[in-house]
Every structure is written in structure tokens, then in C-alpha cells.
């Protein structure tokens, strides 16, 4: 792999940009045998392959992608990155990711455009304030940056914000300055390029259609649209298809898959300096480097694999955006799209071993998977390589649904009384 950098760019410019080679090897067909096969060529899967090769020196690794890499939720989210989760287990996982984000462009020699612009979560009532201040206390204790701003502080940090809007005035907010955004596609491509340079085979348009288990129950092989592959270890990182792939190995999952929509506006000059989230009114917004306002909506209410959702969901989100930022009413929606998010009953991911020896799973990220990409890949690679959960991954085991040791971030933010 020839390095990226300003000098290379200038040199290639002199040759009319003809000297570039493919960023990642993408063999048309897989090899017959691998040490580890990763199912799913999204950011999490590619990161897993990269760390397996880089840190765990696993020799033969394949990433199988049924479509094109990064084409699932990696390329269909609003790219928000933060780690100010309430429970220490979650904060540890997401902050592990943020720490990797902070050096990821250099690590991969690929500009993933990680931009710690600050993520501001708005509080609109007493309950929000109590909840967010609890987050701030918990995060500070765990060494995760998070601070409480009063309403004026929120406006100072995000000048377009109308803190005095009539229905849900802003009473304050929790700000994580290390949070921000990154360029989602570049994350998939950067990991693919770096993994391929370490010998990982990235096979696109290769759909898994079966998983074979031996007499002892352990995985031995899988069949794909491009032939049979023998392997003793399979990592399933197939957000939006997890239940289906796991069913091939006879494993039922505690997951339901919902449509999640997002949209961007037409590009405008810099007007929005940070990321703002409001769970109370369901609005998530930032501005991309290109100038588009990037806006996340909520999930539709019914499970679906259609990558489409109702227009009423977009309306609901834009109503909230127009309340928080009334000058954006004349902005226009340019594109909308849908992803499929796998959600668990406690809204936390599942990372780790399964009842099937040799079969590992990383799923259930719900609406928050992008931010975890490097950390998720990192701990999942360690889990696969060692055959036991990485300490950060351990609380996110599949058996927590039986023991009751849930990590319920959603419930912790629940509104009642």
C-alpha cells in the first residue's frame, strides 16, 4: 500500500492522477479456507478484520459483504460520535471508541475527518435536567468529559439555537466537547484499505446463505453465493441482517429490526458549529463539511427490512428542527434515506460469544452504532482472537438477557411522574 499524504497527492497530480491503485483488494471469489470469516463489510466488520490482522496477527481473514462495503448502516447514519453514556459499562465502550477515533486518521493513513465539534444534548424540563446532570456526574467520575451548560451557555455554544421557543424552551444541556462527527464512508474505506494491506480478503457481492456446524456443534464452514468456505471462527457483524444470519446457525436473537431515517438539506455556508441532540423533541442535527445540515429522525414503529419509512417520521423531526432553529424553515430537504437498525430490549449492543462454539456476534447497536465503530471492532477482534470476551465487551454478553444484568440506557432516560 502506497501511503496517502500531501506529497503523494502532489506527485500523482503531476501524472494526471493515473498512478493510484485500488484502495483495497477485492477478490472476485473467496479462498476455500480462512482462519476467521467476518460476515458483514460495514465499518464494524472491517474494523474487526483490521484489528484481527493488526493486533492479533490472525493470518487468513475474509470479510464477506453481500453488497458493497459500507453500504448498510455505516453509510446511512448521521455520523454522531460521543461517549457520554450513563452506565459505566457503556461509557467505557463508547469512550474506548472515541479514543480510537481521535487517532484514527493517522492509524489508518486515511482522512476519516473526525471532527470533535462538541455534542450538545438539550434538556427541556426538570426531568431532563435531572437526568443529564446525573450523566454529567457519572461521566466525570468515569473520566469521560461531559459538562452541564445552562440555557444561555447552550445558545453561546450553538448560536442558531432558539432557547426560548414556546412549547419546549431549553433549560440547559449536557455538552461533550470531545464528541463530534466523522465522514462515514471514509471509515469503511479507510478500514478496508488498511485491512487489505495486511492481507485481509474483502469479498463484495458475496452473500452468506448457510452456516455449517460439526458434530460437536462448532462452526466448520459457511456457504455463500460465491461458494463454500471452511473456517473455525465466524464473526457476525451484519447489522440489519443479524437475526437472519444467526438463524443459519440455529441461534435465535433478542433483536428486532426497525427502519431509521435521516435526511440532509441543501448545502449552505457554515452556519451550525456543533452537533445538537434533543431526545425530548426527537431532533439530531449537525452540518457536514460539505455544508449540508445532517438531520436524524426517529425509528418507525414497526420492524422492517425495507430501508424505507414513513414521511410522517421525517415531518415529526423537521417540526422539531424548525422549533429549535426557526431560521431553517426555508432550508430544503435534499436527500432522505433509511437504514435498518437492530435493537435489543435494553437498547445496548451484544458483543461476544454465542451458544455455538466458533460463532461470535456483534450486533444490536440500535441507532447508535456508528460512533462505536473503532471500539466495537477493536474489542470484537480481541474477543474472536482469544475466544473470550474482551473486558470492555464482557458486560455486553448475550446471556445478560437470561441473568437480567441489563444495561438499560433507554430506561435510564425514561420520562415519568
Amino acid at each position: 500500500m502506497n501511503g496517502f499524504g500531501a506529497f503523494r497527492l502532489l506527485r500523482e497530480a503531476l501524472r494526471g492522477q493515473t498512478g493510484w491503485e485500488p484502495q483495497w483488494r477485492s477478490p472476485e471469489r473467496p479462498q476455500p479456507t480462512y482462519d476467521v470469516v467476518i460476515i458483514g463489510g460495514g465499518g464494524h466488520g472491517l474494523a474487526t478484520a483490521y484489528y484481527l490482522a493488526k493486533q492479533h496477527r490472525v493470518g487468513r481473514i475474509a470479510v464477506l459483504e453481500k453488497g458493497w462495503i459500507g453500504g448498510g448502516n455505516t453509510g446511512r447514519n448521521t455520523t454522531i460520535i460521543r461517549s457520554n453514556y450513563l452506565f459505566p459499562e457503556s461509557a467505557a465502550l463508547y469512550d474506548h471508541a472515541v479514543q480510537l477515533w481521535e487517532g484514527l486518521s493517522q492509524e489508518l493513513n486515511y482522512n476519516v475527518m473526525f471532527s470533535p465539534r462538541g455534542v450538545l444534548m438539550l434538556a427541556h424540563n426538570v426531568h431532563d435536567e435531572q437526568s443529564f446532570r446525573r450523566h454529567v456526574h457519572a461521566n466525570r467520575l468515569a473520566g469521560v468529559d461531559n459538562e452541564w451548560l445552562d440555557a444561555e451557555g447552550c445558545r453561546a455554544f450553538c448560536p442558531p439555537l432558539d432557547i426560548h421557543q414556546q412549547r419546549y424552551p431549553v433549560v440547559g444541556g449536557a455538552l461533550q466537547r470531545r464528541g463530534g462527527v466523522a465522514r462515514h464512508d471514509a471509515v469503511a474505506w479507510g478500514y478496508a484499505r488498511a485491512a487489505a494491506a495486511l492481507g485481509v480478503d474483502i469479498v463484495q457481492n458475496c452473500e452468506v446463505i448457510g452456516i455449517t456446524r460439526g458434530a460437536d456443534g462448532a462452526v466448520t464452514a459457511l456457504s455463500t453465493s460465491k461458494g463454500e468456505i471452511r473456517t473455525g471462527k465466524i464473526g457476525v457483524v451484519a447489522a440489519g441482517s443479524t437475526s437472519l444470519v444467526m438463524a443459519m446457525a440455529g441461534v435465535r436473537m433478542p433483536l428486532e429490526s426497525f427502519p431509521l431515517q435521516a435526511l440532509v438539506s441543501e448545502p449552505v455556508k457554515p452556519v451550525f458549529p456543533c452537533v445538537v441532540m434533543s431526545n425530548t423533541v426527537h431532533a439530531y442535527i449537525s452540518q457536514s463539511d460539505k455544508g449540508e445540515l445532517v438531520i436524524g429522525a426517529g425509528t418507525d414503529q414497526y420492524p422492517s427490512y425495507s430501508q424505507a419509512g414513513g414521511v410522517q417520521i421525517l415531518s415529526h423531526t423537521l417540526e422539531a428542527i424548525c422549533e429549535l432553529f426557526p431560521m431553517f424553515r426555508r432550508m430544503r430537504m435534499l436527500r432522505s434515506w433509511g437504514g435498518i437498525v437492530d435493537t435489543t430490549s435494553d437498547r445496548s449492543p451484544i458483543i461476544g460469544l454465542t451458544p455455538v462454539p466458533g460463532l461470535f456476534v456483534n450486533c444490536g447497536w440500535g441507532t447508535g452504532g456508528f460512533k462505536a465503530t473503532p471500539g466495537s471492532g477493536h474489542v470484537f477482534a480481541a474477543t474472536i482472537a482469544r475466544g473470550e470476551p474482551h473486558p470492555i465487551a464482557a458486560p455486553f454478553s448475550l446471556d445478560r438477557f437470561a441473568t437480567g444484568r441489563l444495561i438499560d440506557e433507554a430506561a435510564a432516560a425514561a420520562v415519568a411522574h
Binding site: 437475526s243 436473537m253 429490526s257 414497526y302 427490512y305 424505507a308 414513513g310
Partner: protein
């Protein structure tokens, strides 16, 4: 926005309904007799099919009744809605 056929009220817009998860999950008659894994299977583990799904809806902003539906999760099309207690219809070919 889906158009949903309430078995009692007829076709109504999705806004009047609430999705209520997988259908035909019967609460165990004696939960105490289940081990933790079996109980977890009832609580959290779901078919989540890509294809025909049997699911529950409630006409929450209408007659208030729960009913079941057979819906395809790739096309979001309903093949049928039916009342609780009724046998589920066969998926269309």
C-alpha cells in the same frame, strides 16, 4: 404511512395504530416453572423475520382493540389482519 385494516373499523391511517411486537407469543401459564433461559426466550428473543411476519397491532386511537397481522417485512405489505384468537392465515405464495 401505512394503511392498516382494523378488523373492526376497516382501513385507517397508520397514525391511529400502535405496533405491539411479535404475535402468538403466549405468556407462560406458570412462569415459575421456567428456567432463566426459557424465561428470557419469552421476554426478549424474537423471530424478527425478513419476509412474512406475524405481529400485533392496536387500533389505539380508534376502537382500542388489539389484533394480529401478517405483514411482509421487506415490502411492508399486509397480507391480512385478523382478530386475536383466530388462527393465522397462510402467507401468500
Amino acid at each position: 404511512m401505512l394503511l392498516i385494516h382494523c378488523p373492526w373499523c376497516g382501513d385507517r391511517a397508520e397514525l391511529e395504530f400502535r405496533h405491539c411486537g411479535e404475535a402468538h407469543l403466549v405468556r407462560p401459564a406458570d412462569p415459575a416453572a421456567l428456567d432463566d433461559t426459557q424465561w428470557a426466550a419469552y421476554l426478549a428473543f424474537r423471530d424478527n423475520p425478513r419476509g412474512w411476519a406475524r405481529e400485533r397491532w392496536r387500533h389505539v386511537h380508534g376502537c382500542g382493540r388489539f389484533f394480529n397481522a401478517l405483514r411482509h417485512t421487506l415490502t411492508d405489505r399486509f397480507a391480512a389482519t385478523y382478530k386475536p384468537g383466530e388462527a393465522w392465515p397462510e402467507p401468500p405464495i
